[in-house]
Every structure is written in structure tokens, then in C-alpha cells.
């Protein structure tokens, strides 16, 4: 502790250099903190999107394979299942021939409302959807994109089925996160039968709403167990993990974030080590004299290491504070408009603060280690000879 004055005085010796190094470390720690908020932030984003009582059931072989529609009815009868609806890819193209510009599914009109009680529809939409065979419910994003209004008539040409359906828009899903279009399963089924195709016997995905979140796990295994020995065994997932699968490989993204974080950390170790070794070199005369006076290896090593560690810890604290300020600012921005909403998901948690400070401490120790060790270990006569 009595060396504190010496350590501080030495830090202030080349103020500009200390400042630049501190700035580089602070910025890097800030960056690392922001990067570390991302995996958690993405997770939260997905939690917001997914409800925790909805399960998706699909063919174990993959999303492009289907299940028999009869399986939907079996699932519906399970204890704890409030509602279930099957969704089958219609693959309808609008205007442009053969090109699907938005996801559209054939759904069971009478069940869809009870599986998605959390969705906001225009008034009477679900009732009209059940009543009108040719009704369609459309996500708001698509409505806007094509300038449609409730009551408009459109035609979708399927790229999968031999069916071109004339549809009447009966309602809108007032949610930007639901960019899809639903058509009535019965309508498609009857059209196919009329074309001599024997009807729509399959289900693409079955969405199941469970009565209580803690039942989700058991019901998922119950459903998969039920289909295990059938021709199309299923895999159930919570909506959350289904969406993250759908959003591409989130895990890969997180790995990239972690790699970038590690590289940035390594980078600041080098920056700080450079400063530490320059500081030691320009002071080799004084260090030699201090050793000659009787300052032992431990005192020399300790003061030099303390100097590097103090600088980078101070800079690290600044960086962490900067990251907190920045995410706070993003949260404020996020309240300004619904499309900015996701920005509010990134929070510098206590864990991130701890990690940021620990990182800067480690950076200081690592960067100071080699120069301090070199200075401490050099025999005093050699050190003196180099100077005089």
C-alpha cells in the first residue's frame, strides 16, 4: 500500500499514453460487454415472440415432412390440451407466377382462434373465417405490403397443390410478428376432392395449446410417444425453440459472437502489454537504481504489475459504465416506436458487469506480467550496466 504513491506517479508520467491505452481498453471492454448482452438479448427476443404454453409438433424427419391429419384429432383428445390446430403449407403464389412471397397455410378455421387467444384479430375475423369457406386471415404486414383491406378478394395459385383458390379477406392479425396468411382447410380439401385428388389427408405442423406451462414438458413427450411406432413419428418443441430453429442457427450466431469477444479481449491484452513494456523500458534506469537501493524482485514486480492492472481496471470500469449507459439509451429509444422495440432487449446484467471488470483485471495482469517479470528478474548489475 505504501507503494501506491509511486504507482500513481508512474501512471501519470506519460499522461497522453496512459489516456490512449485506457481509451482503447475502455472501448474494447464496452464492446465486449455489448457483445455479451447479445445472446441473452436474443433469447429474450425469442421469449417475447413465443408463448410458453404453445407446442409445435412436426414430423421428426423435418419440417418439410407431414403427419396424417388424424393425428391432430388424437392430440386434441389428450389430457391437458386446450386446443390444437393443424397447419399445412399451401404454398400459394400471388400475382407472380410460381413465386411464394409470404408464408400461407391451410388451417382448421374452427380451432385456430383457441390456439392463438393471444393474437389480436380485427373484430369478427375468426367468426367470419369459420363461416366463409373462402375466407382468409392475413397478417398486417402483408396487408400493408399489398395495400389490401378486409373484404378484398384475391387469388392464390398453389405451387404445391393443383389448386387455385379465390379468397375473401375476412380479417387481419394485428401483429407485425405474424407475417402469414391463413386459408380454410375445408376449402382446400373440397377443391382437391373436386379435382379428383382424394382430399387433404395430411397435416404439416400441429400447434397445441397446453393448459399450464409446467405441463408442457410431459405433454411433449406424451405426444412424441404416441406417434413413435407410426409411419410418421413426431418431434415436439416449445414455440420458443421452434422459432429459434426457424430463425436459423442461433447457436452458430452466438458462437460467432463469443469468438469475436475472445478476439477483442486478446487484442486489448496486446495493446496493454505494449504500453506496459514501453513504460518498463523507458524507466529501465530508475528500475536499475531502485534494485540497487535494495528494492527486491517482489517489490519491482509488484509495482509494475500494479501499474498495468490499475490502468486497465480503471479503463474497464469506464467501459462497463459506457455499456450500461448505451443500453439504457437504447431502451429509451426503444420506447419511441414499436419497430425499435427489440433494441430494448439488450441489458447489461450484473453478470456482464462482473465479466467486464474481471476481463479488464485479467487484461491488466496478463499485459503487465511479462515486462514486470523481465524487469524483476534482471540481475541488478546487468540492469545498471545497460543504463550507465
Amino acid at each position: 500500500m505504501k507503494y501506491a504513491g509511486l504507482v500513481l506517479a508512474n501512471l501519470g508520467r506519460n499522461k497522453l499514453r496512459s489516456l490512449f491505452t485506457a481509451g482503447a481498453i475502455a472501448l474494447a471492454v464496452l464492446l465486449v460487454c455489448l457483445l455479451m448482452t447479445m445472446p441473452a438479448g436474443l433469447d429474450r427476443l425469442i421469449s417475447d415472440l413465443g408463448s410458453n404454453t404453445r407446442i409445435s409438433v412436426h414430423n421428426k424427419a423435418g419440417l418439410v415432412y407431414s403427419m396424417p391429419q388424424s393425428f391432430t384429432r388424437k392430440v386434441r383428445q389428450l389430457d391437458g390440451v386446450l386446443a390444437a390446430v393443424s397447419m399445412t403449407w399451401f404454398g400459394g403464389a400471388y400475382e407472380e407466377e410460381g413465386k411464394v412471397t409470404f408464408p400461407n397455410f391451410a388451417v382448421e378455421a374452427e380451432h385456430v382462434g383457441s390456439v392463438y387467444p393471444d393474437y389480436v384479430f380485427t373484430p369478427g375475423a375468426v367468426e367470419d373465417f369459420v363461416r366463409h369457406r373462402d375466407g382468409a386471415i392475413v397478417g398486417r404486414k402483408i396487408m400493408r405490403q399489398y395495400g389490401w383491406k378486409v373484404g378484398d378478394r384475391i387469388t392464390l395459385r398453389s405451387t404445391v397443390w393443383p389448386a387455385n383458390l379465390d379468397l375473401r379477406i375476412v380479417g387481419e392479425i394485428a401483429d407485425d410478428n405474424a407475417p402469414m396468411l391463413w386459408i380454410n382447410r375445408t376449402y382446400l380439401d373440397e377443391t382437391l376432392k373436386a379435382a379428383g385428388r382424394g382430399g387433404l389427408g395430411i397435416a404439416g405442423i400441429i400447434w397445441v395449446r397446453v393448459d399450464r406451462p409446467e405441463r408442457v414438458g410431459t405433454l411433449m413427450s406424451e405426444i412424441d410417444e404416441m406417434s413413435r411406432n407410426s409411419e410418421s413419428p413426431t418431434a415436439s418443441e416449445t414455440e420458443k425453440s421452434f422459432i429459434s430453429n426457424f430463425f436459423g442457427s442461433l447457436k452458430g450466431f452466438v458462437t460467432i459472437i463469443l469468438i469475436v469477444t475472445a478476439l477483442v479481449s486478446l487484442c486489448i491484452v496486446f495493446i496493454a502489454a505494449n504500453t506496459a513494456s514501453m513504460a518498463v523500458r523507458e524507466r529501465s534506469g530508475e528500475i536499475a537504481v531502485m534494485k540497487a537501493m535494495g528494492f527486491g524482485r517482489r517489490a519491482i514486480f509488484g509495482t509494475l504489475l500494479a501499474e498495468a492492472t490499475l490502468l486497465s481496471s480503471f479503463a474497464g470500469a469506464l467501459g462497463v459504465a459506457g455499456a450500461i449507459a448505451l443500453t439504457r439509451a437504447l431502451k429509451t429509444v426503444a420506447t419511441l416506436g414499436p419497430t425499435l422495440g427489440p433494441l430494448g432487449n439488450f441489458t447489461v446484467t450484473n453478470d456482464v458487469v462482473t465479466a467486464g471488470l474481471a476481463l479488464s483485471l485479467v487484461v491488466g495482469l496478463l499485459s503487465g506480467l511479462v515486462p514486470a517479470l523481465g524487469a524483476a528478474r534482471k540481475p541488478v548489475v546487468d540492469a545498471l550496466r545497460e543504463v550507465f
Partner: protein, 277 residues
């Protein structure tokens, strides 16, 4: 020059021995430094450099002695051995009853802190510390508190006549003043032995004389033993004894007298070695 003879030298005041550990066994004997058949060789690639060959000498306490000789004659090497900065390849160095060969590097460092004050040609003060903190630096190795460290540093600066420059950083002091701060730093721990390697080498004539005078005063007023390496013929007027080195050998008898004579001639006959007994 500060009127030192009247100044009470208050450095060795309670706590009498501020260093941690057992007190030194400072024997009041007639020999402070005893160099016995010391050689020092350096490896330089495949060659061996004989920096010192079989040197023996004794220095009594309270004496101001100089090591003189041509460049490369081994003066600094000998001084490094005397001050415990280096260890001999052969022979024994005993200072204040302590055989330095028995100590490992860390013990040697602790021994230096307690017994030796060092002065260098380039004063090597720490530029970011003011005069007082520079002088107080060696006291960090003691158990003294900050106030006491400062008090002792101020006393040492008073001894060298710089107590009006306490808050000055080295770059605001003249060369002579910096060297006096360095001398204050060397005496602040009240060491038995002060060693100085070319203390006047970087000073003009006036400051060189003042520095030599100050070192003389330290011996006369406080009984300090001083070993100085120098080229400076002026030194002959101030020291008690000169040891002449040449090519790693200590000159004795008529060789030594001839060397002294040569230096006196080089100085234009102004210097008078042996003026002091």
C-alpha cells in the same frame, strides 16, 4: 556549503533501526570493508574477461577512499562487489562483519537497503516524484510511516543544503542540485557505507568541487565511510586514500605512487593527494 559540522545528524533516532528483521551485528572494529583475494571474471562468448584479478584491500570505517584507474581497469566492478551489487567469482567480500557471499539475491538486496547508500554519475532521480519523495524512496523499504519518512527526507535534504527545494521535481533542478538530491537519497537510511560511481562525472568544475566537499563533510561530521570511483584528479584533495587499479590489478608500492604522481601532474599540480592522513 551547508555548515554541517554544527548540524546534529538526527537520522539515527528512534526507532533506531527502522528496518524489519533482527538488528545488524555492527561490530565496532577497525576494518569496515575487507576484500580478500577477490577475482571477477565475465564470460563474453568464448572469451573470459578478467575484470579483477586477486585483489585484496581493507578500508577502515569513517574513511573517504577513491578507486582510480584507466577506463576498463575494473573500478566499477570492484565497487559493485563492495556494495553487494555483484558477487565475486573467487575470494571473499566482508562488509561490517557480513560475508556477502553467504547471502542470496534477495538477502543481498535487503542487506544493501540497510547498509549501503548509492550515488551514480547520472543522478537517476525519478522524474515524477519531487525532491522529498525521491529522497524518501529508500525508506519505503523500512517500517517507517509516511510522516516519519518525509521528516527524515527533509532532514537529509537539509544536510545537503536543499531544504528549500522540497517540492521541486528533478527537471526543475540544476545538475549540481540533482546530484545533491541523490546524495540526500543515499544518506537518508543512515547507511554504514556510501558508494559513489563517478559522482562528479556529469558536473561542471564548481559543482564537482561542491559535491566532493559535501562527501568529505559527510565523513568528517558524521563518520560515514565513502567509497568513490572517479577519474577526477580534483578528488585527490578530498579523499583519505586512493586505490589504483590497472587491468584488473590493484597497484601497490611504487606502482601506486607513480600512478598518484601521474594524476597529480595531469591535474597541473593543483591536487595534493595525501594531504590528509
Amino acid at each position: 556549503m551547508a555548515p554541517l559540522r554544527g548540524v546534529r545528524y538526527p537520522l539515527r533516532m528512534p526507532p533506531a533501526d527502522p528496518f524489519p528483521g533482527p538488528p545488524p551485528s555492527a561490530p565496532e572494529e577497525a576494518t569496515l570493508i575487507d576484500i580478500r583475494h577477490v577475482s571477477r571474471r565475465y564470460r563474453r562468448g568464448v572469451d573470459e574477461v578478467h575484470a579483477l584479478e586477486d585483489v585484496s584491500l581493507r578500508i577502515s570505517p569513517g574513511r573517504f577512499v577513491a578507486f582510480m584507474g584507466p577506463s576498463g581497469s575494473g573500478k566499477s566492478t570492484l565497487m559493485n562487489l563492495v556494495s553487494g551489487l555483484d558477487r565475486p567469482s573467487e575470494g571473499e567480500v566482508v562488509v561490517a562483519g557480513q560475508s556477502l557471499g553467504d547471502l542470496d539475491e534477495d538477502e543481498l538486496a535487503a542487506w544493501r537497503a540497510r547498509h549501503v547508500g548509492l550515488i551514480f554519475q547520472f543522478f537517476n532521480l525519478i522524474p515524477v516524484l519531487d525532491a522529498r519523495d525521491n529522497v524518501a524512496l529508500p525508506l519505503l523499504l523500512t517500517e517507517l510511516g509516511k510522516a516519519e519518512r518525509h521528516r527524515r527526507a527533509e532532514t537529509a535534504l537539509r544536510v545537503v543544503g536543499l531544504d528549500h527545494r522540497l517540492d521541486h521535481r528533478p527537471n526543475t533542478l540544476s545538475g549540481g542540485e540533482q546530484q545533491r538530491v541523490a546524495i540526500a537519497r543515499a544518506i537518508v537510511t543512515d547507511p554504514d557505507l556510501i558508494v559513489a560511481d563517478e559522482p562528479t562525472g556529469d558536473l561542471d568544475a564548481k559543482n564537482a568541487e561542491a559535491t566532493l566537499g559535501l562527501l568529505r563533510e559527510l565523513t568528517d561530521a558524521f563518520g560515514k565511510t565513502i567509497v568513490m570511483v572517479t577519474h577526477d584528479p580534483r578528488a585527490l584533495r578530498f579523499v583519505d586514500e586512493v586505490f589504483h587499479l590497472d587491468k584488473g590489478l590493484l597497484l601497490e608500492g611504487s606502482d601506486a605512487e607513480r600512478a598518484s604522481e601521474a594524476i597529480r601532474l595531469a591535474a597541473g599540480g593543483h591536487a595534493s593527494a595525501g594531504a590528509r592522513p
